[in-house]
């Protein structure tokens, strides 16, 4: 055996425990779920008959299919809004805040990350309610005469999500921005591009990796989240995770929950494929 082969064998040995862990507790469970999704519930017995009944149901039963639509609508709205709000903030921190305060500004911008995730949605419920701080405040200073209904609507879910993801995206876009040399912008300006063109043709393309990494994370975390729509959405429409939890919590229908999860997984994989070429993860 050559030195190189020995080295290779040793290196592979180091990777084995992690590979085994990932296979045993991630790949195998997913395969088991895939098999289970091809079963169905009869009375309370799980009948493993390898048919696509659950999937047919998901795409034909309006209440289940709407879950996919609701989830996609919310997730796409949240992702776009978060990018639009976070980009300028990251840009301002990276370009206008003096350098020695930048770290502080970024830390402040993501400080509410450190509140408990369950509590964060609950806090928004307190803010957005009819008698909540926001409505009472706006009525107090005379902007509104009557509270507007935000709580228990899709708007509340979207606000709760955007709050979280603006923080996340500010972080990813900022770390991308500070790696850019300001010379790019100056060089482009020297060549005669006006402000808008500098942005569109130079800065935006260069920050695209940061945007896409953040946007993909937003998409994945948002579409799979149960807590935020459950606390803020008032059950007026059900997202996919809510439907999955409904199958588990109320009906004990594991096969249908598995099938819905597989569909969710497919959607996330498609999103990954669509954004893969910009993702930093690929470099890993």
């Amino acid at each position: 055996m050559t030195m190189e082969q020995q080295e290779r064998r040793r290196s592979f040995g180091f990777a084995v425990p992690a590979l085994i862990w990932t296979c045993a507790f991630f790949v195998v469970p997913f395969l088991v779920m895939l098999v289970l999704s091809l079963a169905h519930l009869e009375g309370r017995q799980i009948v493993q008959d390898f048919d696509l009944g659950n999937y047919v149901k998901i795409f034909t039963e309006p209440s289940l299919f709407k879950g996919i639509v609701v989830s996609l609508e919310i997730t796409v709205t949240v992702t776009i809004l978060s990018v639009l709000l976070a980009w300028p903030l990251a840009w301002i921190i990276a370009t206008q805040v003096p350098e020695r305060y930048q770290r502080l500004a970024i830390m402040l911008a993501v400080l509410p990350f450190w509140t408990s995730y369950v509590v964060r949605s609950y806090a928004w419920a307190l803010v957005l309610g009819q008698n909540g701080v926001l409505m009472q405040g706006l009525i107090g200073i005379g902007i509104l005469d009557e509270p507007i209904q935000i709580m228990a609507t899709r708007a509340a879910t979207v606000i709760g999500f955007v709050h979280f993801f603006v923080m996340l995206l500010t972080l990813t876009i900022y770390s991308n921005l500070i790696q850019l040399s300001p010379n790019y912008a100056r060089a482009a300006a020297d060549l005669g591009a006006n402000g808008w063109n500098t942005f569109r043709l130079v800065i935006l393309p260069l920050t695209l990796p940061g945007i896409m990494t953040g946007a993909f994370l937003t998409f994945v975390l948002c579409i799979g989240d149960y807590i935020t729509p459950q606390i803020l959405g008032g059950n007026n429409e059900l997202s996919m995770p809510q439907l999955i939890m409904l199958q588990l919590g109320r009906r004990g229908d594991f096969p249908m929950a598995s099938a819905l999860s597989v569909v969710l997984m497919v959607i996330v994989t498609l999103a990954y494929a669509a954004s893969a070429r910009w993702l930093k993860m690929e470099r890993v």
Partner: protein
Amino acid sequence: MQNGKISGFGGVAALLISTSMVQAADLNALVWCDHTDPALLEPFEKAHDVRVNVKEYEGTAAGLAILEQSRPGDWDVMVIDTVDVGRAVDEGLLAPLPGDALPTASFFPEIVMEDHNGRDGKTYAVTEKFGYNTIAYNSSKVDPADMQDMSSLWSGKYDGRIAVYDYYLPVLGLIGLEQGVATADLDSDAVEALRDRAYGLKAAALQVSDVVASQTALATGEVDILIGGGEWVTAVLSAENPELDWSVPEEGALRWSQSIAVLEDSENKDLAVEFVKYITSPEGQARLATSSCYWGMPANKAAGDVLDDAQKGALRWDEQGDYLARTQLYPVPDADLDLAMQDLWTDMLQQ
């Protein structure tokens, strides 16, 4: 430095061992949230030197699914809808209780429900708490006269001011009553006939919410009416929100009741029976009735000697005779009808 590291790891290990260590005696109970109140559990734990582990579940189907996935001996005690006790008995999940050791003689007679709690002369469960799913409302914001007539919820007058309690059995039962169908007559055709009425209710409602979100919405003025509500939502708030009220309308309302049972696979049956005895004793009943998650009438009248007047007032102790006469039990669907009702409910949520 090295020592610091080692003691650090030692600390973590100790932490882990202490959290995973099993105490000498454990009682594992599958319950509803009112049984998680330490004020209810601690006296029993002290008296018997045990630890009562509780796990909440939602809905009988999910509870039975949990039991099915567990290993024998995992569970000792279960709280279950009285009307569903039969389903659990059918599957051989429950152990007979020593009927003569239970204080059913001092229960409200309508609540003993032998035909649900027992079979072939054996007792498998005992009722512990009951109350009503009806209309709860804010008396300063709605016309109380309207609350005597359930159809006013569909009249358009209260659109956007209604919350629907997110539990399909009582609310579909109420919609049935409004349509003149007794809960005992709800079959798959009758349920399907309620579909439009259910969608209409959803359209008039601001939200469909669980116990807490319902309470919150009523207490903060988010909504003025909660269909499916009753003393279990208003009583706990009565001190600070005296304007919250509830009524049993002309059409009638639903009566919920929960039973407690010992599981056949329990390896701790004696202790489990002791727990059942404690829960049905006057003191246990009083604590359960005023438990932090939700209040409800105790099945045992003797709890009246333990509860104070304010608590009894909030529970409307003196009006129970009238309510018991005018309310009906939950629908008792078989597995298929149960799924059909849940499907209808999910469809309604997605409207």
